[in-house]
Structure formats: C-alpha cells, structure tokens
Amino acid sequence: MKKDELIGGSVVFLFGAVTTIFSLQLPIGTFRRAGDGLFPLCLGLILMFLSLLFVLQVFFRKEPRGEDAASGSAIPGSAKQVLLFLGAAALATALLNSLGYLLTALFLMLALLRLLGMKRWVPLALFSLISAGASHLLFVYWLKIPLPRGWLDF
C-alpha cells in the first residue's frame, strides 16, 4: 500500500514539474498583467508542493507490520484481464475508420465477451451480432448520427 501510494504521489509530482517547466516557456507577465503561463505556473508549483507533502507524509508514516505484504497479494491475472480489455477497445478504436462502425462493433463485442468468459461460439457470435446491429440501428437510423462506414462502405 505504502509503495503504491509513493508511486502515485511521485507520478503526480512529476506531472506538476512538467507543467511548471512547460509554463515557463510561455509568457509569464506580472500579476497585474498576467501572461499565458502565469496561471498554469502557479498550478504546477502548487501541485508539486501538495504532492511532495503527500509523498513525505506517506514516507514517514508507520505502517502496521505485514500490511505491505498483504496488499501485494493482488489477484493474479486480473491486471492482465484489464490490460487485454483496454487493449481490445484500443484496437477497435484504431480500426474504426478503416473497418467501419458495424464491423468494428461486431469484433469488439466478440473480443470483449470472449475475454469475460463466453466460450461457446454460437451464443458468442449471435450476441455480438445482435448488439452490434442494434447499436448501429439506434445510432445511425434512429439518432441519425453519421458513423464511419469503412472500406466496405456500410
């Protein structure tokens, strides 16, 4: 837990530092006539201060014995599941313009349902087809929203 919190705090600190650096490249001006960079510079500095305070607070906090070991017992494979899930959504996004909405939605549903444990191919294909078709009907025909048609033009 402590390790996770230290990593989280450090990431936020880094974000504050990057903001500060990029803000300094913009005109700062004065408080009377602020430049584009003044407000983000103040925010970057405040974020660095807050996250540093947090990291120090966590670092000097006394953890009850064994807590770190207990928190490390994450369910094996579950993070992989999350990554695969997110990866499938990212792949669908990458293919959206080329494949078109209907095919992308179909493949996305196939992949996600399979990832979440739907093993039998017939219900998997049937459910993916129905959900992709229904969402296509809803968005394209009912809400009249133009969605990508892809190379196959449908």
């Binding site: 009377r32 947090f54 899930f85 997110l86 959206l96 939605a105 996305l108 996600l112 444990g117």
Partner: protein, 508 residues
Amino acid sequence: MFESLGHLASGFGVATTLHNLFYCLIGVTVGTLIGVLPGIGPIAGIALLIPATFGLDPTAAIIMLAGIYYGAMYGGSTTSILLNVPGETASVITCIDGYQMAQQGRAGPALAICAIGSFVAGTIGLFGLVFLAPPLARAALVFGPPEYFALMVFGFIVLSNVTGTSLLKSLMMAVVGLIIGTIGLDPVTGNARFTFGHVYLLGGIEFVAVAIGLFGIAEVLANVEKPPEMLEKKVIVPRFRDLYPSLTDLKKSIKPILRGSGLGFGLGLVPGPAPVIATYASYMVEKKVSRHPEEFGKGAIEGVAGPESANNAASQSAFIPLFVLGIPFAPPTAILLGALLIHGVNPGPLMISQHPELFWGVIASMYIGNFILLVLNLPFVPFFASILRIPQNILLPLIVLFCLTGMYTVNNSVLDIWLMLLLGGLGYLMRKWAYEGAPLLLALVLGPRLEVAFRQSLMISRGDFEIFLSRPISLALLLATALFLLIPAARMILKAAKKDNLVKSRKT
C-alpha cells in the same frame, strides 16, 4: 412570491408540451436504467447522452439531461434494495435497511417508500427552487470576479474535504483538473497553450471524454478485474401486488420523509457531493430521533424513507447554484453546465431573465419527472429488477460499446475515443491508488472560469491580492475556505499527539 408562481405556471406550460413531456419521459426512464445498472453512474450517463441532445432545442435538451440525473438517483436505490449493490454512491446508505427489508420479503414497501419519499422531496424541492432561486439570482448580481474566484476556491476545498479518504489527495486531483483545463486557448489572450502544434488540442480537453473515461470506462475496468463469482448475486424480484406499503409503514415514514427533504434541500445548496452527505446525515438524524434505534440496520423503514428523500431533495436544490451562479458544486451538475454551454446557454444571475422559458420549463419538468418516476417506476419495478439479472460479463462489453460510440458522436472524432480510453486507464489507476475523480472533473469544467475570475480580479486591483480580502463576500468565503483547510489539519495534529501520549504512557 406571486410573480414566481406566475412564472412557474408558465414553466408548466412549457414542460407539458408533448415534445418536452416526451423528452422528460425519455430522460427519467434512461436515468432510472443508468441508476439501476451497475458500471455506469449518472456522471458518465449524462455525458454519454449529451450528443443525443444535439438536435434538440436547449429547453428539451436540459429537461432530458436533468431527467437522467434525478432518474439515476432514483434508480440507484432499486439496486441497493434488491441487490445490496448501490447503483451510485448516494444510494450506499439505502443498502443498510433497504436490503434487510428485501431479505424479510418487504422489498415492495421499501421501493414504494423510496418513490413516495422522492416525490414528496421533489415537491418540497420545487417550492424551494421557485422561491429561493429568483432572490438569490438578484443577490448574485453583486458578485464580481473576486467573489466568483473565492466561491469557486471554496467549492473545491469543500468538495475535496468531503470526497475520498485524504484531503491532500483530493486537492491534488483538483489541481490536476485545473491544469488539464488550461490546455487549449488562453481564455483572456486567446493564445494557444500546451497544444504542441496540434489543432485537436486548441479547443481544450473534451470534458465528456474525461467524464466517460474517469467514471464509465474506469468503473468497467474495475469490474473486469473482479473474480466472476463476485459479479454474480442473487436478485430479489418483488411481485406487483407486494409493492404497497402498509398504513403503519406510511405513518412511520411521514416524518423521516419531511425531515430528509428539508435536510437534503439545505445540503444541496452547499458545495460537495450533496446527495451523498444528505443521505448519511438523514440516516444519522433518523437513528438519533427514533424511539427504536436498535431496529436500524435490521430493516427499519425510516432508514430508507429519510435518506432517499434527502437524496432527491439535494439533487434538486443542487440546480440552484448551477442556474443562479453558473457554478456547479458537484460533478453531475458540472456536466450539466457543460451541456448548457454546448447549447449556447450561459447560466448565471441573468439566466432567469434571459432564458425564462428554459429556467422555469426545466424546474416544472423536474416536478413532472418526479411524478412520472412515481407513476411509472412502481409498476415497472419487477422489470427493472429483471434487468439486474443480465450477467455482468454481457453488460460490461455493452457499456464499453456504448461509451465508444457515444464518445465518437460528440465531435465525430476518433481522437476523442483515444482520449477517453487514456483517461479510463488513468481512472482505473486512480481507483487503485485511491484518488478521487470528482474534484478533477469539477476543476476541469470550472478551471477556465476560475482563471478568468483570478486574472480579472488582479487586473482590477492592478496586481494587488488585497482585493480578495477587502470585499466582504469574498473575505467571508476565503475565511470559510481556510477553516475547511485548518480543521482537518488540526484534527490530524491532535490525533498524532494523542497517539504519542498513548505510546509514552504505555512505555512508562
């Protein structure tokens, strides 16, 4: 007062047109579904459906989106009672006694009391809105940039104080949101800032992508991680004839409903996740005033009636700061602010006079929406309960598909989907590290307004920070902010000192 009643009557005229009634019905029905389904809350739900309102006039659009908001608040209680899984955070407290009632075969009366309580709270909230909003709008006309700046800072600090487990973490998230809000064109000079030459970033970070990413995709990812057996729960589906509460139930619930409504309405005016705080406060009050506090936690109907009324009243009064000041105090109303701006309506003290049709129409539609919720939801409770039987391994991919499609429809841009997925991953990590998304989202929406107020104040004072302290309203708000910051710090120091004393006394 009579003038307000006249305006309200005209509002009912607007809200009861067939067109607006239809969108109110769609809003509350979709909202109830969003509230019922775990994995998508009111924030992501409203954000997801903003594109569906693009073809509508602003009044119908806001009527529908507001309907989704209070419909979701209502729907959340259904899952709390039937499944012991709150549909959204404000329904957590309903689980305690609501689920116990369901276990005892009294799910019907629990759900009916929720609906009746929400309707009564909606009625009280309506009159509060009608009589409080116009005088507050007149008072808000004296607000200048320093007052707005102080009010927004106050809002961030209070929200950070009451959300999450650590004030420091919530504050960090608020500042991250403010920084993300600076991407795009400088609101004063119009120069590009942090865009790195990309045209896409000129318009700033799409808040809908942030909302759906942090609150929709992240929630789905958190559910994906759970082992399958944790996702399967037994659903209790009540029969229609078992829905009616007894006379004793009604008698027991009247006072908690009235107390909850008053408490919720008052708390809705304060910055922070008002419905959540209101439900907790109402539960505590009911337990304290009850002659049988030992029944709480074992299926006391008062423990359902009070918090549910408080929840609805707070959701309704949260519209007052949004409409009157143009400043939302919580993420769902922040999303509604975004929707108003998209539709070309700039909420603030002048909204009532500039857009009376929209203001009074939306207020009247809330009452109609509450009535629709009461009339429609009770007979359909078995239907909504059946929806809960959809396995999560089917529901979660469907939510992702809708998030992706909904996100694309905002600007017809694949880049928005990438941003949403990125923020979904970030939101998942934030959950792992126990960071709250609410302060980030609120800060992102309010960031540009805060910056403008800050810079305008300093321009007026020629760079002198005393302007924030020399004006009474701004001073009072900043003093209150300091108090909210100092109290937790003082509490922490006292706790540490107590712990030290304990260790010393043990050693001796």
